[in-house]
């Protein structure tokens, strides 16, 4: 058993290892292509029709309210340090 040529063994490991890595990734590539085909055909993303035009004043008020909210959140989280 002492005459095992370790370098030769490590070459075998390399063949096995690189082989498995490539097989894995090549299969993965094919699956990616396949799933892209299926999904874009049968389950396309719905385009969410974003309502861009909106009463801007209303929006503005909401935003300010949200900011105040955010800030008070912050204060609450900060107030009680050990």
């Amino acid at each position: 058993m002492e005459e095992v040529n370790l370098v030769a063994e490590s070459f075998k490991f390399m063949f096995l290892g690189m082989g498995v890595v490539f097989i894995f990734l090549l299969v993965l590539i094919e699956v990616m292509k396949l799933q892209a085909k299926i999904i874009t055909k049968y389950f396309p993303d719905e385009e969410p029709v974003t309502p861009v035009t909106k009463s801007s004043k209303d929006e503005e008020q909401k935003r300010v309210a949200a900011i105040i909210g955010a800030v008070s959140e912050f204060r609450k989280n900060k107030q009680n340090k050990v």
């Binding site: 370790l6 370098v7 063994e9 490590s10 070459f11 490991f13 390399m14 096995l16 290892g17 690189m18 498995v20 890595v21 490539f22 097989i23 894995f24 990734l25 090549l26 299969v27 993965l28 590539i29 699956v31 990616m32 292509k33 799933q35 892209a36 999904i39 874009t40 389950f43 396309p44 993303d45």
Partner: protein, 442 residues
Amino acid sequence: MKLKQLLLSLLFIFTIAISSAHASSGHDAPVIEEGKQEYQSKTLSELASSFWATTGINAILDTDDGEMTSEPAGPSAERPMTWFESSLGRIIMIIIVFILFYLAIAKNFEPLLLIPIAFGGLLANIPLAHMGGEHGMLGVIYNMGIANEFFPLLIFMGVGAMTDFGPLLANPKTAILGGAAQFGIFGSLIGAVAIGFDLQDASAISIIGGADGPTSIFIANRLAPDMLGAIAVAAYSYMALVPVIQPPIMRALTTKEERRIKMGVLRKVNKLEKLVFPIVILMLSMLILPESTPLIGAFAFGNFAKESGVVDRLSDTMQNSLINIVTIFLGLGVGSKLAADKFLVVETMGIMIIGLLAFSAGTAVGVLMARLMNKFSDKDNQINPLIGAAGVSAVPMSARVVSKVGSEERPGNVLLMHAMGPNVAGVIGSAVAAGVLLSIFK
């Protein structure tokens, strides 16, 4: 009001007083105090000299004090330290730790891991404190999550939750580059065997070429726990050195024309593709290589949680508080392997050399594979071979390096997104390679 407070406190003490009276009548048996040795009177100078014996100065100067190594596995794994380990070795390690601090802080080399690791190393080299032992802070951490490989998996889960597979899904064939770069692992395995490591140790070392911290720690822990510290430090150091190591190799192996290749805009990837993808990877690794499923499973879970869009509070936690807590612990625990008696061994030298070889080989083969692919592709579909270098992973550092080198050659040529494909494929590739090595030594 202050009076009231004092009165209340008095009431408090009073209540105890009453009950103490009762209590004292409650048990009459003499209390036998266990675990205490009988105290021997000492003169002040005796006290001072016995104090001196417990100072660190004495421990470092007196090299023959029979101090034992610290082992998280407990006293049965301990052995007496050599004179070198208990004195000069510690000083050398502390210098190394300071160099790591310098690199992390001044040079911004992977500070999130190197600072906890180096600080853990500092603590592990303190004489007499046994912080790396079974009951020391570092030893407790080590047993909590490193000996059982739990922390690396949690980190991988968090990294999964931060990863976007979009660029890979948009251009699947770039996954091949992430495979080719794994030559860094197997090529350096041959090198490690050639310089005298046995096959199992060589395999543990070669995983540095995966350029992926948690994977390295996971494998080192399984195949060669003695070398965990050196392997982790090498992995993170070279990941940090990616901007120094990679560009010369990338330039040497490509023509200027190739480096100037422009690549088209990536298609927008469907949400469902991203959602399904982590499951696909996991299923594939289940079928081909179950040994890799702890790593890939943790990664896929994090990614799936993120892409599901319905458990944002969990995926935020994975990406923030959980990964931060685990990073602190993982670093300190790995740092415990930087004790002089564990790190300053001949093997560490070899690990550092092989690690550098591994990064270089991975980069080179990644780039060459990209050139090879171009030979088989039509004119309109050429890839910029620089992105092959991103296949080593070191996410997202090497993708950024690719982008930087690319835009130096042709200003405005942004390769970042194209490089992210091989980059994340490299993470999967390393996990697969890790699984192969584990399956061999099972």
